[in-house]
Symmetry: C2
Subunit: 443 residues, 2 copies
């Protein structure tokens, strides 16, 4: 990816910490938005603009940039353009970027920053892959860059936490459900026993999944949002390619049934923990015990559970997406970006955790065994797992004896060990072995 | 109470929306806090100050004001004074007010505002009773006034929502648990079957209740926090004396058992709903169905559940109090107040709901009947209630017939009707009848 790392290694700047030299717009004149992208979210922003006036001011869309003007419905009274220069020519007070994807969004945002125009973006891909570059450019130019709508769009908490140093410095870990599509799919599979394809079809029919849901079901969307969360909450600047990611495609209704037997469910989570030992993180489906705050977030609901060093648990939960809630969050960011014209910069912070190194954590695992042939007995499985350094914390044998289908929760160990144990079991018993990471109730 | 209403009726200003003319303190010099009060929270602020540097800056306590210097442990290196002029003489950059109560806090804060010193307060009594007066004075003087620690101190969300106009304007109601002491007491009664006195004793032993818990158990603390929430979330300026308030003193373990039989529990809640019909609110114990997000908040945990006009539910949950989390929130407010030196004012907003009128809502009710004599049968109770305009939605008869102890959930009706119905039943059947408000799962 074409993202230069413009800042010193180890230096991380919270996202909305930009010094400001852009002149304050007049409160009397309508504030002009340059809208990049006119998809579902862009259209919702355009639709809300005439009705809404954050901070008592009028807003207007100066121009909307689209790739192909013929392919779009044209909202009334909004100039549609196809070249970025035609946006800049209309002198926007703020750029709202809702194109999605890295390019051309990156190039266009950099051009806007060079012209000292404040930026509001909902684009987690852009932030995950080019956050360092964009923030460095924005900081240098003294331009605010707001991105509250990029993660859990319906629930504003990201930028306020990023600015609260004492609060944030007490945090040690977080777990989140940040992708509504996959939470819906797994919730339906859990609730109705539907298989993956049927649940995904229902999500599509109800508008909860894209026609091409690859980015969601393979965990890419959650991974990119995890990177944005790390930047705001740790803060750490991490390359998404350095983080373990897994999709939900392989989760079966039977896995969910077994998770229930072990006192929990499987949720599409992101997780990170940090401290003296460095930063650990992963994105993927994980066993979540019933007592964990994320276990109760059903359907398309998103949430982020934070933990502080005293063991306090904090939960932010709400709608993750949807054009209307995203548009509201974007318009509040517009107001904040325009208010920020006189904000003081937050000092850059240096921390061990912000070097961009990230490890896959040792966690517990949910292991399920299936096969047509007789399965190994409990003591045999325990012996095989133990020989790989994987220790069982809890087991459920479905036939009441020890030789039927079985599921296990293990104590914390590395992915390498569990994968070696899976291979050993599959070789010894000719069965299918699956392993999913497991969160603890207090993590 | 001696609070002048300095602003025009109907004009409400979100709490941290102050214009600013106070000069920006130098980033190099240590920033000086004038600390008013040195109780548990004040001592925790003093203890954190040397270790912590929000925004990369050093902080120092310029002076701590106490009533009686002999009665306090004296934190090392902090000048203790007993007269406010000795605080001002040390030229504080910011005043942190943690005295609690209305006076002398009000007078001292007004003096600080007159000297154009930014204010951070955790004092919900002060804000509930004198919020209009203090905010008008702060606004006139161009001084920031921050109060994130006054409600759900461990979970910063109040000021960020107050500033997000598009988000806030989509809200239609909220329910909250904002008092940890009473949530702990009812949780223990529910979990262990302990009676009220035993549960309160345990709360005292574990440091979750004051030696004199009157303000908590009579609902005063929750009521004052409700007023602060109304100011930030609606926004509405309401006199606390205009709001229905009830304590938890009369809740019995038996009431909690019956609530469980009806699919919920009793929680110490605050609730408000607003719209074209005006503003409704109450503070007091209420039946909360199991599916409601507040039903799962146990022990001293606090939380606020918001609802928007599309039916989305949002939850903010976390520790409500405790010296350490409160001190962290206060210090973040200090940083924000000092950053705010160049913030633009948010325009004052005018709304129907902000006139200060507040009604007691029509809600469902949990009604319980007890007595040594035979109780009236189900049809008899339904007839008595119905004659007062109170209609049963769900009934549980404990002996399997209709003449034993019984509990009912009713459809929504006014407090007047329910009180009339209670009197009618008690007169007719010589039994004890209790009625608690009931939230719906989606409210």
């Amino acid at each position: 990816l074409p993202c230069a790392r413009a800042r010193t290694e180890g230096e991380t700047v919270p996202v909305d910490s930009c010094a400001l030299v852009h002149p304050a717009p007049s409160a009397a004149a309508a504030l002009r938005i340059g809208l990049l992208g006119l998809g579902q979210v862009g259209a919702a922003v355009a639709a809300r603009v005439p009705a809404l006036a954050p901070g008592g001011r009028r807003l207007t869309i100066a121009a909307a940039l689209v790739r192909d003007p013929a392919s779009r419905q044209r909202p009334e009274g909004i100039p549609i353009v196809t070249r970025i220069d035609d946006v800049f020519a209309r002198r926007p007070d703020v750029i709202v970027e809702v194109l999605g994807g890295v390019e051309p969004a990156r190039t266009l945002v950099l051009e806007a920053i060079a012209r000292r125009i404040p930026i509001v973006t909902a684009n987690k891909s852009l932030l995950a892959h080019c956050g360092d570059e964009l923030l460095a450019a924005a900081r240098l130019a003294g331009v605010p860059l707001r991105c509250e709508a990029s993660v859990v769009a319906g629930l504003p908490f990201l930028s306020s936490i990023a600015r609260r140093h004492a609060f944030r410095s007490s945090l040690v870990s977080f777990s989140g459900i940040v992708n509504g599509t996959t939470n819906f799919v797994l919730s339906r599979m859990e609730g109705t026993g539907a298989d993956y394809d049927a649940a995904l079809d229902e999500a599509r029919r109800r508008g909860f999944a894209e026609p091409d849901p690859t980015s969601d079901v393979q965990g890419i969307d959650a991974l990119e949002k995890l990177v944005v969360l790390l930047r705001h909450l740790v803060p750490a600047s991490v390359d998404p390619r350095a983080i373990e990611v897994d999709g939900i495609v392989a989760v079966t209704a039977d896995d969910l049934r077994r998770a229930r037997g072990l006192g929990g469910t499987i949720k599409p989570v992101v997780h990170a923990a940090w401290g003296a030992g460095g930063l650990e993180a992963f994105a993927g489906p994980a066993f979540v015990p019933r007592e964990h705050p994320l276990a109760r977030l059903e359907g398309v609901t998103n949430g982020v559970a934070l933990r502080d060093r005293s063991g306090h648990s904090l939960l932010f939960a709400g709608p993750g997406a949807g054009p209307d809630v995203t548009a509201a969050t974007i318009l509040d960011d517009v107001a904040a970006a325009l208010d920020a014209v006189t904000e003081r910069p937050v000092e850059a912070e240096r921390r061990e955790a912000s070097h961009g190194r990230v490890a896959a954590p040792a966690t517990g695992w949910l292991i399920t065994l299936d096969g047509s042939r007789p399965l190994p007995s409990g003591p045999e499985v325990a012996d095989l797992l133990g020989s790989c350094g994987v220790w069982i914390e809890r087991a459920v044998y479905e036939r009441g004896d020890t030789a039927g289908p079985a599921s296990f929760l293990t104590y914390a160990c590395s992915r390498d060990r569990v994968q070696a144990a899976m291979r050993a079991i599959e070789a010894a018993a000719c069965c299918r072995a699956s392993a999913w990471r497991a969160l603890r109730g207090d993590a």
